[in-house]
């Protein structure tokens, strides 16, 4: 009896094998999906818990609602700003003002930092002469320059642009300088042998290979540009999110301060996203995964 059954069982086994494989692949994919969903769920839960705790403690007066406000009030504040505008004008205008100052300061700071960084990286004499001065300037806490810029350039956007520029310049400069210094010497030698002039070497070898260094600093420095603009506005301005913060503070409106912070975070994240997209386009030549 059993000898008859055995082969059949074996056949059945081999038959199921390929099906088994696809099954396994499916379960694996499923497990991966489930994990992703789990992470997302816990994330949301964590947010809800923190906000809920904040709201609850504040409503129960365990923490002072006047000083700490609560999420619902912050949301109300954002809603009011969006629907009815702020005391300074529409919310969009404030965001645009701050963004404009930050962007302009960022572009100027990046341009200056890259140009000077590459120049000093390539021209040794310049690096030796200017090196100590740049170190001294870098050691000044640059936020304290904001009041000085206010005196120099007035309440308008230019004083905020200036503080954004000084904050952005240094990290970009140092990265560009390092990038220009660390260019593969083989590549430079090769370019020279192939017939490149000094100018060509700078433009077509040094700058492309320094771009990955420069891009690292761009991410950080856009944050700095926003900080520069906000601090400048906070100290004295006619428009902008920083002014919104300081006005909310002056009218003891804690919810307003938090609401402005939330708006800023959203703006910064959006800018970061745009930068990442640009980076992906520029670094098509890089092997995937090497840029992390």
């Amino acid at each position: 009896m059993s000898p008859d059954v055995m082969p059949e069982a074996q056949v059945a086994l081999t038959m199921t094998e390929p099906a088994d494989k696809t099954n396994r692949a499916q379960t694996r994919a499923q497990a991966a999906r489930r994990r992703k969903a789990l992470v997302a769920a816990i994330r949301v839960l964590l947010l809800v818990a923190v906000l809920g705790l904040w709201e609850g403690l504040s409503r129960a007066k365990v923490i002072d609602p006047f000083n700490f406000s609560m999420p619902s009030k912050i949301w109300d504040q954002i809603w009011t700003w969006v629907m009815h505008g702020t005391a300074l004008g529409s919310l969009g205008e404030q965001i645009w003002y701050t963004l404009y100052e930050a962007l302009l300061g960022w572009v100027l700071g990046v341009a200056g930092g890259v140009l000077l960084g590459i120049a000093l990286g390539r021209i040794r004499l310049l690096a030796e002469v200017l090196g100590p001065y740049i170190k001294v300037l870098n050691s000044i806490p640059r936020i304290v320059l904001a009041p000085i810029f206010l005196i120099w350039f007035g309440l308008g956007p230019s004083s905020k642009v200036a503080s954004a520029v000084v904050l952005v310049f240094f990290p970009v400069f140092f990265n560009a300088f390092q990038g220009a210094r660390e260019v593969d010497r083989n590549l430079v030698a090769n370019a020279r042998i192939l017939g490149a002039s000094d100018r060509r070497v700078t433009l077509q070898v040094v700058i492309p290979s320094a771009t990955s260094w420069i891009f690292t600093s761009l991410h950080v420095s856009f944050g700095f540009a926003l900080i520069g603009a906000i601090v400048g506005e906070y100290i004295g301005a006619t428009k902008g999110i920083g002014l919104l913060v300081s006005q909310s503070q002056n009218t003891f409106n804690a919810a307003g301060v938090y609401a402005a912070m939330v708006i800023l975070a959203v703006v910064a994240l959006a800018a970061e996203g745009l930068l990442t997209v640009a980076e992906r386009r520029i670094f098509r030549w890089k092997p995937a995964g090497s840029d992390s």
Binding site: L187, A189, R192, I193, L194, G195, R200, P208, S209, T211
Partner: protein, 271 residues
């Protein structure tokens, strides 16, 4: 006039001393005399780290000799000239340029219009068998393919003098033999003079008309051997010929001694 009859490369008592980071002096090459005739394939062998590569940088004009003279086509070398091509040991393809753009780099640097440069580059890419890869970036190629790009990028400039610094040392054995054959094929059409630096004696005999044995560093010429194997050669099969083995034995007697000296020095260093 004299330029037409003068040898392709002449080193006369060339010495190169480098300053080490610790402030000392290191002599890489001392009193080097070497002549390479036009259209000649010269291989330079010597123990590792003896200063072979320095010889090439002197000829290329990337470095100047501390003492002595370096002449290319009868003229003293003054900076990087347009007669020279250089294939480096490490990868020197531009990673941000596509394969085609890499090969176009030389002609473009030398002021050729874009369309013409593209045409020449395509021609050389076809010759190294990479026509289908022109849109790839170097990181998408294998090591052997990247070396082919480097060869095409060098040959596209029509160099009269081809300097090669252990160009195939990073490749696996099979790819290496294949690349050596391809190099010979490419070279035979051009009439360029070649200086090929290697520490692999077999490779040097299979490729060259003349093998120059260098002393342990500071490098100077110890002995020069003429290689009378007939061309065209196939690297894999020429290795098995009795004459090849004879020549190998002869040169190794000279080279082996220098290798031993280098090794003993290394041992003394460790001790």
């Amino acid at each position: 006039m004299s330029a037409d009859t003068s040898p392709a490369i002449e080193l006369r008592g060339a010495t190169k001393t480098f300053r080490t980071p610790s402030g000392g002096r290191h002599t890489a090459v001392r009193g080097l005399d070497l002549t390479v005739e036009r259209g000649e394939f010269v291989a330079v062998v010597g123990p590792t780290g003896c200063g072979k590569s320095t010889t090439l940088t002197l000829v290329s004009g990337l470095e100047e000799p501390t003492e002595g003279e370096v002449l290319v086509a009868g003229e003293p070398v003054d900076g990087v000239g347009d007669k020279v091509g250089f294939v480096f040991q490490q990868d020197a393809t531009f990673p941000w340029r596509t394969v085609l753009s890499n090969v176009m780099a030389g002609p473009r640097f030398r002021g050729l219009p874009k369309a013409e440069a593209k045409e020449k580059a395509r021609e050389w890419l076809a010759r190294v068998g990479l026509a289908a890869f022109e849109d790839r970036y170097p990181h998408q190629l294998s090591g052997g393919q990247r070396k082919r790009v480097a060869l095409a990028a060098t040959f596209v400039n029509d160099p009269e003098i081809l300097l090669m610094d252990e160009p195939f040392s990073a490749l696996d054995v099979q790819t290496r033999a294949l690349m050596s054959d391809e190099l010979l094929e490419l070279w035979e059409g051009t009439g360029a003079s070649v200086v090929f630096v290697t520490h692999d004696l077999e490779e040097s005999i299979a490729l060259a008309d003349k093998v120059v044995v260098m002393t342990a560093g500071p490098a100077t010429v110890k002995q020069v051997f003429e290689i009378d194997l007939p061309r065209p050669r196939k690297v894999e099969s020429v290795r098995l010929e009795p004459r090849f083995i004879e020549i190998y034995r002869e040169i190794w007697e000279s080279l082996g001694e220098e290798v031993r000296i280098t090794r003993e020095r290394g041992a003394a260093h460790v001790a």
